[in-house]
């Protein structure tokens, strides 16, 4: 019997939903896609035996997008896969330029702090994310495997955006990709001890160690019914359905 997977997330689900429809589908399992926009998933709760946001607007979207009238019944699923919702490295990218650490290779940072300091910052960011709110909720109500997906790295075309380029450029110049990946690894290890399984960006989609090839971002669409409205030009956060195809083909679920 084909297993059923409950996919939960925010706008980043669009790539996975589109990818499943555009060639990523296979017969190992069948996904149902649930999600809400913006901060909607922050109100996700377990109500009357169903997983559903408490926020009315988010709940409506959550049901409409999935076609399930009353939310997700956890008993219907063999596994849960959560994506987007703040599981990213923003604190590292935002602070790399200003804060050197022993493990990074800055030549002359304005501030020099311990690696633990920035690791605590990243953990705090993840720990208080919508992702972990949802993940821990699901963990409490089911013993099924819970997969957490790291958001894709920024797309390479971010170099068209001056301030973004100023953030990422120094990391590449200092060859500190491994430093960044290690921060990710430390968080993943910690989440594993909580019983979660971690899924990473498919290697085929990665450029320069910490970026996403532009071809996997170009043409990304908004998370709406129909998946037919594109993101703004130069959106470097969201991936397209080709990215989703790669994910479904790579991940061992």
């Amino acid at each position: 019997m084909t297993r059923k997977i409950c996919v939960l997330g925010n706008s980043h689900i669009a790539a996975l939903k589109g990818g499943w429809a555009d060639g990523g589908a296979h017969d190992k399992f069948t996904p149902d896609f649930f999600g809400a926009l913006s901060k909607g998933m922050a109100s996700l709760a377990f109500i009357d035996g169903k997983i559903i946001p408490q926020d009315a607007e988010a709940a409506e979207f959550f049901c409409n997008i999935s076609g399930k009238e009353n939310g997700a019944d956890p008993h219907d699923y063999d596994a849960f896969l959560l994506c987007g919702m703040g599981m990213n490295l923003s604190p590292i990218f935002n602070n790399y330029g200003g804060f050197g650490t022993p493990d990074a290779h800055h030549s002359n940072p304005d501030h020099f702090v311990s690696d633990t300091c920035l690791q605590d910052l990243l953990w705090d960011h993840i720990d208080h994310s919508m992702m972990m709110h949802c993940a821990r909720l699901v963990r409490r109500i089911t013993d099924a495997p819970v997969y957490l997906v790291w958001q894709a790295f920024f797309a390479e075309n971010l170099f068209d955006i001056e301030w973004r380029a100023a953030q990422i450029g120094p990391i590449l110049e200092n060859n500190d990709q491994e430093y960044v990946v290690n921060q990710m690894r430390l968080v993943s290890d910690r989440l594993s001890t909580e019983g979660f399984q971690i899924l990473h960006q498919p290697p085929e989609t990665i450029a320069q160690g910490i970026m996403t090839k532009s071809e996997f971002s170009r043409g990304s669409v908004l998370f709406r019914e129909g998946l037919d409205k594109p993101h703004r030009e130069n959106d470097v956060f969201h991936m397209n359905s080709q990215y989703g195809v790669q994910c479904w083909q790579n991940w061992d679920i």
């Binding site: 604190p91 602070n95 200003g98 501030h111 020099f112 311990s114 910052l121 208080h128």
Partner: protein, 354 residues
Amino acid sequence: MSNSPYKDVPDQGFWRSGVAEQNPLDIQNLYKRKFRIARSQTIATAGSCFAQHIARHLKQRKFKVLNYEPAPRGMSAKLAQKYQFGTYSCRFGNIYTAAQLLQLAREAFGQITPSDPVWEKEGRYFDSQRPNVEPNGFPTPDDVLRARQTHLKHVRQMLLDMDVFVFTFGLTEAWVHRESQTVFPTAPGTIAGTFDPDLYEFKNFTHSETLQAFVKFKRLLKREREKKLRYIVSVSPVPLTATMSGQHVLAASTYSKSVLRAVAGELFQTHRDVDYFPSYEIITAPQTRGVFFQANQRSVTDTGVETAMRTFLAQHDPNPVKQDGPKPKAAKQAPKPSTDDLICEEAFLEVFSK
């Protein structure tokens, strides 16, 4: 009777009307500012843990409090406190003694290099001058020194830029490096390092030593700076956690606070650019009957802090600016800080109590 020089002394000059009959929450005329702090002036804060309250309240009132070592972007208030970002104008941690303040300024201007700069604990390395700002330390001594160099760059800039320096005297007792007389903020072996009586010695600074240290600090800044600087000094009302003086801790604490109060008083009397804020008196005055101390008879209650700061702000910000604009996001906002949130390394000595 009519010729007595006391006949024109105002009410606050008499104990009965000035203290005994006063509401401890609102003692009238106890503090009159010596100078005004303009909104455009930059303020730097340092000192013992009680000084953190002054910094916090000034920030809340939108005074221009300097922060040369801000927290990494996105860091929560709770985490920022753990790493002492924003506790003072730089991440120097608590500066309990005037000698350490002078030493820091000399180091920042390249005049001296303190001895024994790195302390070790369980394979991690700590800055002996601020062992608590990185609670897990660094992996190598070189990392500590590198962090210190970037820190000193900011301290130097702070000392050059500030228009008003707010300093709270905390202690007279300290530990020093025997050979070099380098002063440390904590006893070696308390947070990090190892106590070795051949290397370190106890020092209880006298009135003249404390006064001289602060005056030398002032002279140093006068030499290095071009613009005018004003000082607001206060004395921490928080008693000693422990003493190495051999005296009873109450006697030792009284000595320490008396020295610091006398130094602050002398600075106030003899330097036009030094104001004294009587937070010590507000918290410890007899008519309060100890109500401003928590059950441990040491930590100051929130009410005590609020009372002291209300007195301060009544003079320096009688008509607070309305705080318009968007409120911080609730999810990221830390709970309202209380006295329990203060960072006081000295209190770590409590664990050695039998």
